[in-house]
């Protein structure tokens, strides 16, 4: 068999996180340009404040303002910032023990690589516009750096909202608006994932068939059920289906639903009929659309045929079939498909 096919699978979502009282207090502090820790049962001040005591599980509400200055306990240089990082120029990861705290905060430090050392004194540099997120600040060495420059990389234009991008920015937070503003109780945390999705070797044969306008199924051996798409493992035997068999582009609707509901990320405009089609020559149904007849005329047992897109649009996907449409033949006998329900 040939190399399996792959395709990117990119996910992105803006998760909306309700903070509850403890994280809420901390992020409200960030918005207001203050750093909060909290005292736990054993007397230590932890930053950020833990929601619950690590040792006893008791909810924590003994907040203590810490910093703003702190000491670097550990650091690690990040040569090539990634899109998910708060800074677009090289920076350091750092464990910063803020004055008044007993444990460090994990954060980023903008500075000169040569100046990094354990024991370095640092202070926060706050973003002008703060939303109550952990990225509302970065740390910088307490002795002001004069050598760092705003990013000039056209790929990563420096954003004015970035806390560390302007070395001339004052260190103290802009007008704290805490008096009037509501506490922060919801934070947006975007998460992106990029996965290289692979089809199995067996499914890839089917996808290559689709690119030729053919429907390729497979079975474990003669007399075994024909699966389409072919499987890396037959679900009943645990062995690959590798005896390839071409199946027809005609078939029978076994069952279906009519999707009337719109939802985020939907790729087909409702209403549409999503049907299981048992292709002639296959022993398992595939899911596809039924069009060219009113949705309420689609029925179990209806005979249908693939409506292929123009050949010039074909790729390695079942989308080469735009939809299935009625053939006009008499409906299939219930007994021919009832064991596929």
């Amino acid at each position: 068999m040939n190399q399996p096919l792959t395709a990117p699978l990119d996910l992105f979502f803006d998760y909306q996180r309700s903070t509850g009282p403890t994280i809420g207090a901390f992020v409200t502090g960030l918005r207001d340009g203050r750093l909060l820790g909290a005292r736990i049962g054993d007397g230590r001040v932890l930053v950020p404040p833990p929601e619950y005591d690590p040792a006893t599980g008791v909810p924590i509400d003994d907040f203590v303002e810490v910093g703003p200055a702190g000491t670097v306990l550990s650091y690690s240089w990040q040569d090539e910032p990634q899109p998910e990082h708060p800074l677009d120029t090289p920076f350091a990861w750092a464990l910063v023990q803020l004055d008044g705290a007993d444990t460090p905060l994990l954060h980023v430090l903008q500075g000169d690589r040569d100046e990094l050392e354990v024991g370095l004194r640092v202070v926060p540099r706050w973003a002008d516009e703060r939303a109550g997120r952990i990225t509302d600040l970065v740390f910088v060495p307490e002795r002001r750096l004069s050598s760092s420059k705003p990013s000039s990389d056209p790929e990563h234009p420096s954003s004015t909202s970035q806390p560390g991008s302007d070395p001339e920015r004052p260190l103290s937070p802009s007008t704290p608006s805490s008096a009037e503003a509501e506490p922060v109780s919801l934070i947006n945390t975007p998460i992106a994932l990029s996965i290289e999705h692979s089809a199995s070797a067996q499914e890839s044969e089917y996808l290559r068939g689709l690119a030729r306008g053919e429907l390729i199924g497979a079975r474990v051996g003669p007399g075994s059920p024909v699966y389409i798409p072919p499987r890396g493992a037959s679900p009943t035997d645990g062995v690959p289906t590798e005896e390839f068999v071409q199946v027809a582009d005609t078939g029978t609707v076994t069952t279906f639903c009519i999707v009337n509901v719109p939802f985020l990320g939907q790729q087909i405009t409702p209403p549409y009929v999503s049907a299981y089609v048992l292709l002639d020559g296959a022993d398992i149904a595939i899911q596809h659309l039924i069009l060219e007849c009113p949705a309420d005329e689609v029925r179990m047992g209806m005979r249908v045929q693939a409506k292929w897109r123009p050949e010039s649009e074909w790729g390695h996907t079942l989308r080469n079939i735009e939809y299935f449409r009625p053939t006009g033949e008499p409906d299939a006998d219930y007994e021919t498909y009832r064991h596929h329900l």
Partner: protein
């Protein structure tokens, strides 16, 4: 308590990138076939199934569901799954065997780490409110931990290189090792830093992998295996969720799990530690209190091949294989979470206690 043993172990080749699917089927099918053939059993002899994997590696909800195609689960099976390293699936299966409801179990884990940006993905295990939004990666945390240890005088860069060199040399004798090299610390110290202060050899490679183990109880274990690897202790614990409230140079959960699993007897022929970074091997050694002369990761360990969500199970499998081959008492460790927050220790022996 009922005597439970590992009676069979198989794993997929360690490879930087398989061309299989993220549901692990292609890696698992040969593992299962190996086990069935080696033990002279079929899938219908298995009383309970349990697996470990992660949706985040595959980027899909319920990604583990397709893996059961590899079993051919018709008729239906008595089955469970943990969103953890499969070492914890083994724990769940062990519990099931102890209840006496079943006398055999098959445990498996899989992960196609190469499908995404593993280092970044693992960073999403951190606090989703105040840590993960920084975009911190697994190796960033490890690097900070390593420097903390350097600053505290817990280890030197040479110590780390010694760990890595020993692992690479040990892997020369492991037929399926992803990385193996006849190298000394001197040489490794000349190589570039990749996650300051860590060098490439201090960090685990990206490994696609899968592993499977068959457990059996009492006489059933003796029937299936000439020399079962009896589980005489198995314990796991988790450390605090507050990442920076933890002492990064200690692993209390590992210490407790090891104390309980070892039951006061430190005698060991070898220890298989699930420590992906070189300095973490030193931390884990200390946390367990391993004697100087106990060989650690004679196969090369995670520094030479680091399958995700099956790596901890594989440590148990390799320890068991040691017992099959004549060792008396071997320790296996599994760890997961940011800076090995959660740890499991199993002690395998040639005779039940």
């Amino acid at each position: 308590m009922t005597d439970i043993a590992v009676v069979g172990f198989a794993h997929a080749p360690h490879t930087p990138a398989t061309d299989g699917t993220t549901n692990g089927v292609e890696m698992l099918v040969p593992c299962f076939q190996d086990l069935y053939a080696g033990l002279g059993i079929t899938k219908s002899d298995i009383g309970f199934w349990c697996s470990g994997s992660s949706d985040y590696l595959a980027g899909r909800a319920f990604s583990f569901i397709a893996a059961i195609d590899a079993i051919g689960a018709v008729p239906p099976i008595n089955e469970s799954h943990v969103e953890m390293d499969a070492a914890w699936a083994l724990y769940e299966a062990w519990v099931k065997l102890v209840t006496g409801e079943v006398d055999t179990a098959l445990v498996y884990g899989f992960g196609k780490a190469s499908a995404g940006r593993l280092d970044r993905t693992l960073g999403l295990q951190t606090d989703p409110y105040l840590v993960a939004p920084l975009g911190v990666a697994d190796s960033n945390l490890a690097a900070l931990q390593a420097r903390l240890g350097l600053a505290a005088g817990r280890w030197t860069e040479r110590d780390l290189a010694e760990v890595a060199a020993r692992a690479r040399r040990a892997a020369l004798a492991t037929p399926d090792a992803q990385i193996a090299e006849d190298v000394d610390a001197e040489e490794l110290l000349t190589r570039p830093v990749v996650a300051d202060p860590l060098r490439e050899h201090d960090c685990p490679p990206i490994t696609d992998g899968a592993a499977a183990i068959v457990l059996a109880a009492g006489d059933r274990a003796r029937e299936l295996c000439d020399r079962p690897a009896w589980i005489t202790g198995i314990e796991h614990r988790i450390d605090s969720a507050h990442l920076t409230g933890r002492d990064w140079l200690a692993m209390p959960s590992l210490t407790t799990a090891a104390e309980r699993a070892l039951g006061g007897d430190p005698t060991l022929d070898a220890a298989y530690l699930h420590t992906p970074y070189s300095h973490q091997e030193l931390l884990a050694r200390a946390a367990i209190g391993l004697a100087e002369d106990v060989p650690v990761n004679p196969d090369g360990g995670p520094l030479t091949g680091n399958p995700m969500f099956s790596g901890g199970l594989e440590r148990i499998g390799r320890a068991a294989r040691r017992v099959f081959d004549g060792a008396e008492r071997v320790l296996a460790h599994a760890g997961q979470g940011p800076l090995l927050q959660q740890n499991l220790v199993a002690v395998l022996e040639g005779s039940p206690r």
